[in-house]
Symmetry: C2
Amino acid sequence: MAARILDGVAVAQQIRSEMAARAAEFTRRAGRRAALQIVLVGDKADSQIYVNSKMKSAADEGMKATLSHLPASATLGEILRLVETLNADPEVDGILVQAPLPQSFGSTAIQQVFDSIDPAKDVDGVTPLNVGRLVQNRAALVACTPAGIVELLERSQIDIAGKHAVVIGRSDIVGKPVSLLLLHHHATITVCHSRTKDLASVAASADILVPALGRPGFVRRAFVKPGATVIDVGINLVTDRNVAYGLFHENHPRRGLFDRKGSVLVGDVHPEVEEVAGAMTRVPGGVGPLTIAMLMANTIKAAESRAKST
Amino acid sequence: MAARILDGVAVAQQIRSEMAARAAEFTRRAGRRAALQIVLVGDKADSQIYVNSKMKSAADEGMKATLSHLPASATLGEILRLVETLNADPEVDGILVQAPLPQSFGSTAIQQVFDSIDPAKDVDGVTPLNVGRLVQNRAALVACTPAGIVELLERSQIDIAGKHAVVIGRSDIVGKPVSLLLLHHHATITVCHSRTKDLASVAASADILVPALGRPGFVRRAFVKPGATVIDVGINLVTDRNVAYGLFHENHPRRGLFDRKGSVLVGDVHPEVEEVAGAMTRVPGGVGPLTIAMLMANTIKAAESRAKST
């Protein structure tokens, strides 16, 4: 039996229209729009695409979205000073610094920048204070992708409590926070990673499987218990024909897409999993739209909470 | 074959003598002793016992230990003002507020007090900032019991990397932080709790089992894979004769102890598990002494780091 496809676009749209209503209410009360400020450093193409989607969504939902675009030649000091200015600006509700920074900044600079964000404006949930509050199950602002995954499960009427959730990947931005959220929703959680032994059989013990490792089509049929829910967090651009053809059979429309464009966007889950899973997301159209919807939710939450506390 | 018993007292002693050397070096350089300040509110008997052990250990290792003992009738405001004073005192390196507060304070007061501690002096690892840094694998000050568990495993030459660690319990103070630490040491981790289905069989999949649920003798033979390492975090005072007799057979010396004293301290692990585990801790003499040793380690770390940054 084919899996029920969880439509991330539809659920995201539902959340976004709720947020648009709250944004309108905020504007009415505060006399200004809730404001999201995005900081982008350099010209990485996919970062620009992500940033544009976020800007457009904020505008669509009736918020103010502003981009501070610094050149790749900017210094860390300049970025930190910019964040400081945005922290101090009473008309900025949410600050998002698009990761990654250009490689020239080294690997620790991004966390230094994240650390400098006012936690009350941390709509991406990256400051240690907000992460600590997440562990303590009292976070106001939670990282958008993990929050989106839980929202998608809940709005799709998929029970989390008492279920065994297996997360593949232990990143700060997805693996760890989504595990904590699922734990707080009363799942038994298992976190797997590159050092996990017999990963396929651990994954196959999951009622809810959340691959977030960034390897195209890595999760095969053998990783999935029949009837399990699979939430694919990977977003991988495949440009290798062998990889694309290994994922999509001859008559699959997405193979045709690859043939025309020379690339195709795929998740961490092989399409064959649709034959065994009970419910699953697709890439694109799965978790991605939820990430943006939750950014909108965080921005309006931050705006409301800041308005209350002043 | 009987399990190898992991001797928490011996490992703690080793750590404490290392800390005594660092404390002496600190005193020589700083011209004052590293200083731990404990705040105790009310007269709960076991809290007083814990506090006395901590005070004595700090003194033994050449640190200064001071107790602020407030009556149960103190107000939350008084506690918060006291913490503020200790935060501002340049000669206080570590602040520990003994949990729990008297019941009259309600359930949220303790976190409010924790939140008010300067993270640089947070030797119990309870502030959200330090918890967030733990998630991000860059914590300087980690909760003492979780840190002690990892230290005990490492100093007992028990590999963590690539192993499956199952933690039973999801408290802020043990279950969640020890899971994160084990994950950062490259274990595959599973966190179980009251809503976990078929707990015994999940536990029996563990190479390293960490029961931290607070139920005397809950973990039986069927919960343990032969040869697994079992780290018992429970500390339960049993006063019920049926419970005590169910744990200790007729000729067990601890049954004799119970008969003489009317109570006995036991862990979450039934003694029969010693017949199946490869290595395990006992209660008392297991994780408990490590908790105190790690408090000493955190205090000296905090003192060194504060001296460096001023």
